[in-house]
Assembly symmetry: C2
Homo-oligomer: 202 residues x 2
């Protein structure tokens, strides 16, 4: 490892520069908005030259896309780590819903602005983002399928069930108050109970 002065344009010598750039950019996109954040500002916050930044990300949109894909992958990893601690289908589904809500709340600012694009770009979602979202939903469909096969849930269209599970979680950014007294996971548990047991009075 060299400590001599780098020529402009050469990759930065900071540890894991790609991750460092993404972390700074994510914070800036979330707090000041995508449109109001320039590549120069990101380079400056990261402590590298603009030319070095270009080495990793030739365009601002690519940083944004990389952040979103990484966030979806982290969410999947964290949620699934919780699901796999449980054995029954019922407990696994409850773990899925509450872990999803915890991830949402723990990463509130970035989740709302980046995943929901509230201050995002007008461009559509990248192919990589769509693939990451599909992986997330497919994992849920597999869980639902396992519950159906085990006879824990009624025979239903797996895709429809997965959508009914995800929809109230995905809608939370519209109304959840992160400064309120109730945790997102408490609402997720109510959604779980509603879906699993049904509205009907028996």
């Amino acid at each position: 490892m060299t400590t001599t002065k780098r020529p402009v344009g050469r990759p930065a010598t900071i540890a894991d520069p790609r991750q460092t750039i993404m972390a700074h950019a994510a914070r800036m996109f979330a707090t000041q908005g995508y449109e109001n954040t320039s590549l120069s500002q990101i380079a400056s916050a990261t402590g590298i030259s603009k030319a070095a930044l270009y080495h990793y990300f030739p365009a601002k949109q690519e940083i944004y896309d990389a952040i979103v894909v990484e966030m979806l992958q982290s969410m999947k990893d964290q949620v699934w780590a919780r699901v796999e601690q449980q054995s029954s289908f019922k407990d696994r589904l409850k773990a899925f819903m509450t872990a999803h809500a915890d991830f949402f709340q723990d990463n509130y600012q970035e989740f709302v602005t980046l995943l929901h694009g509230i201050s995002g770009t007008s461009r559509g979602r990248s192919a990589e983002e769509l693939a990451a979202r599909a992986r997330y939903e497919n994992a849920l469909r597999s869980l639902v399928q396992s519950g159906t096969e085990a006879g824990d849930i009624r025979q239903q269209d797996t895709a429809v069930v997965a959508r009914a599970i995800l929809a109230p979680l995905n809608a939370m950014p519209r109304w959840f108050n992160p400064k309120g007294t109730r945790r997102a996971a408490e609402f997720a548990e109510e959604f779980f109970d509603l879906l699993f047991e049904g509205l009907r009075q028996r």
Copy 2:
């Protein structure tokens, strides 16, 4: 009523000019996008001068807001006309969900671009739009409340139940294919069944 040539800036003599402007603008926003539609184009499509257009709507954003509020009100009227044809809570809730899906499908292009803002503006929702959305959701909460009071549904947080009902309907623009073989209302009926009866195998 006069048929003499109007001075520029005087209101147009077309029938219900406000509604006519909104209808043309809604079609243009939905097909070519809000940003790509100018006041001049809207005036031209409506067959009035730009000055006459200004008489009704001083800014493009006001046309957009008026269209969205009117669409929400129409949806509420049409959905509630169907709900009120039913008597039991179960049938009323099913009517709510399927009528909502029918409105979505029958007004697909405008619903997706205007209500979901996919090609909308970067500005937040207007106070009038938020109020119209609140009226829609409050009507649903009242329906849920009546079902709880009648003992048809388990005691639950009414707001949480209303969100669980609306979320899968509101998420339909993300995945529903209007050219596919299944009607939106068929999916809505599956969501209804899931929510009402629950996932659990009994």
